[in-house]
């Protein structure tokens, strides 16, 4: 299945070893979108590199930006003010819903259901409108700065988010009616691409794929960052770890994110939005690893600074790249038609895989 | 008058496509010509006021057997077979067989003293209207006087089905 294949999300080439219809083995050839982001980081100042982070996982740009900024703040031993932390949480959760919506639309389209795609994009449009009003950009937002926020929340921010959350609940029910009880959908997804908990841990898979296999691990609970410790929400966990469970887990996650946003809007603390951070950042020499829960899984930033303006080394742990390794295990023994469904269910973005 | 036109039309197509079928190098082309030949014979059945047979020929022969043939032609990868020569060297044997057959039929007509032309007139077009509806008569006789052969035919088909399945099963 060539690089420009209609169903691989982006430029991923999969070499399948087939015995008739059954897949015996598979090999993913990546690197078509490799831009050498990590090498570029070595001769960019810390602020200059922030926009590059958005271009990696272009579907969830806000959360990768959050990860980078918090990692540098850890390096500078600087604490972002409470108001900016809450706004950051709201925007990241909205981004999680948007990313899951895009996943649901394209995944359903691969399996043949035409309508969910348009419903999901209608909702995603609302979220992107909020991003645009807040920071001018819809996709690669570069909404956060090291040490806090660049822009104050625009005046109708709370009302917009509240309106979105209010009618989003009925929307999710709409998707569920279309797909969850649908015999053909169950037929196409139940028991397809099974990943047992042991395999999931062994492959280092994170995010919804890991939770669908039954492992209850979410960084927002394990190591709370931004303002997650102030809100109550549960972590949905699957049982068999097949495509249907991953679908259920992601749908539940969308609901939980909506709850977080609702709780966060009630009391956004007032106060400054930017910590005392100088124009030129010269973090003390040292290294830091900071991971956050991106929609696709755990995105980690390992930053080494040698005291100068530019980082000595920045390495990013992309969740899609590592989830992709489990692809071969999941695809074994399935038919060619299922390969498409499995690629969809891991929810990979090639920009992040190739960096 | 119409019948004569129709008959010569269908007979022409049948003969032409039969000849083409036998002579074509590419098996797919010969399969297509066989389909045209079968359709032409179906036309002749229609011209002989045998509609039921016309539609059975189309459904069963063309829609069933020929689909099977085209399937098998597709499965058997043909680029290898195309290179090999398609025609056995027994051209002379074939010619001899054809002459023998023609001679035999000629003998039959010669001894019976009637040239094919004077055969009994089959049926005038007008009389065709009062013919009993064809499919009912075929059905009635099929289930009344020929019930046993009907059952035997179904057993035969069953045996053929099992045979084909066993034969084509993957011997892994």
């Amino acid at each position: 299945m060539g690089p420009q294949h209609p169903s691989t999300h982006g430029v991923l080439r999969v070499k399948l070893k087939l015995d008739g219809e059954r897949v015996i083995g598979s090999e993913c050839i990546i690197g078509y979108l490799h831009r050498g982001v990590e090498k570029i980081a070595e001769n960019r100042t810390y602020q200059q590199f922030a926009p590059y982070v958005d271009r990696m996982d272009y579907v969830a740009a806000v959360s990768s930006g959050l990860g980078y900024c918090e990692a540098i703040e850890k390096l500078l031993i600087v604490e972002a003010p409470p108001r900016s932390r809450v706004i950051r949480t709201i925007l990241t959760e909205l981004q999680r819903i948007a990313s899951h919506l895009l996943w649901l639309g394209t995944h359903a389209l691969d399996i043949g259901a035409l309508t969910p795609l348009f419903y999901c994009f209608r909702e995603r449009e609302e979220i992107l409108k909020i991003f645009e009003k807040y920071c001018g950009a819809r996709l690669t937002t570069h909404a956060f700065r090291i040490g806090g926020l660049q822009y104050e929340a625009y005046d109708t921010f709370e009302k917009d988010v509240e309106r979105f959350c209010k009618d989003f609940e009925s929307r999710v029910v709409e998707y569920e009616d279309l797909l969850t009880q649908n015999r053909i959908w169950i037929g196409r997804t139940k028991g397809v691409g099974i990943l047992t908990a042991a395999d999931a841990i062994a492959f280092g898979v994170t995010g919804p794929v890991l939770r669908a296999s039954g492992v209850k691990w979410d960084i927002r609970k394990a190591a709370p960052y931004a303002a997650y410790d102030q809100y109550k929400f549960e972590i949905p966990v699957g049982t068999t770890g097949d495509t249907y469970d991953r679908y259920l887990v992601r749908m539940e996650e969308m609901r939980q994110s909506r709850l977080i946003c609702l709780q966060a809007i009630e009391n956004i603390p007032t106060g400054p939005i930017m910590a005392k951070v100088g124009k030129v950042l010269k973090p003390p020499p040292g290294e830091v690893y900071h991971a956050i829960e991106a929609p696709k899984g755990e995105i980690g930033y390992y930053v080494v600074s040698d005291g100068t303006v530019m980082p000595y080394r920045v390495h990013i742990r992309p969740p899609s790249f590592i989830n992709l390794q489990a692809f071969d295990r999941m695809v074994r023994g399935h038919l060619v038609a299922d390969v498409v469904a499995i690629i969809g269910t891991i929810d990979i973005v090639l920009g992040e895989v190739d960096r | 008058m119409l019948d004569k036109v129709l008959f010569y039309f269908f007979a022409g197509i049948a003969l032409a496509s039969a000849v083409l079928m036998v002579t074509r190098r590419n098996v797919v082309h010969s399969a297509i010509f066989l389909i045209t030949a079968l359709l032409a014979t179906a036309g002749i059945f229609l011209q002989l006021r045998a509609e039921f047979l016309f539609i059975v020929q189309i459904i069963l022969y063309v829609g069933g057997i020929m689909v099977l043939f085209v399937f098998v032609i597709m499965l058997v990868n043909l680029d290898v077979a195309l290179q090999q020569i398609q025609f056995a060297r027994q051209k002379w044997v074939a010619l001899f067989v054809a002459l023998a057959l023609a001679g035999q039929v000629g003998l039959m007509f010669w001894t019976s003293g009637k040239m094919p032309g004077q055969g009994l007139p089959v049926l005038t077009a007008a009389a065709a209207a009062k013919l009993p509806p064809n499919s009912e008569t075929v059905a009635r006789s099929l289930f009344e006087s020929y019930l046993l052969p009907f059952e035997i035919a179904s057993v035969l088909l069953l045996v053929a089905m099992i045979g084909a399945v066993v034969m084509a099963k993957k011997r892994v």
Binding site: - | F7, A11, A14, L15, M21, V22, S30, L34, A37, L38, T41, I44, F45, L48, A50, L53, V56, L60, Y61, G64, I65, F69, V72, I73, V76, A81, Q84, Q86, F87, A88, K91, A94, V97, A98, L101, A102, V105, M115, P116, G117, Q118, G119, P121, V122, L123, A125, N134, T137, V138, L142, A153, L156, L157, A160, G163, A164, V165, M167, A168, R171
Partner: protein, 100 residues
């Protein structure tokens, strides 16, 4: 309508072409197809005579011939597929071993 001779000539011609096909062609599939052609020639005769005598038995018998042709084609093609899978060839000349 038409003297019966026309139909006899037509079915004879088809019959001869079928036999020539069976004899000259090396590709087994075309041989099978020619057999179908021969069966068809027989059918024309049957229907012509059944129309001549007004008795529908001829058409019923033609029906049985079509059923039999279907059975024969199914088994024949099954054999060809099985043979092709083992010997990668479809030509009659290379089917010269009884057991390999």
């Amino acid at each position: 309508m038409l003297p019966i001779g026309h139909y006899l000539f037509l079915s004879l011609a088809l019959f001869i072409i079928g036999v020539v096909g069976v004899v000259t062609r090396r590709n087994v599939i075309v041989v099978l197809m020619s057999i179908e052609l021969i069966l068809n020639a027989v059918n024309i005769n049957l229907v012509a005579f059944s129309r001549l005598y007004g008795d529908v038995a001829g058409q019923v018998f033609a029906l049985f011939i079509i059923a039999d042709a279907a059975a024969e084609a199914a088994v024949g093609l099954g054999i060809i597929i099985a043979f092709f899978r083992n010997r990668e060839t479809v030509l009659a000349d290379e089917m010269d071993l009884l057991k390999w």
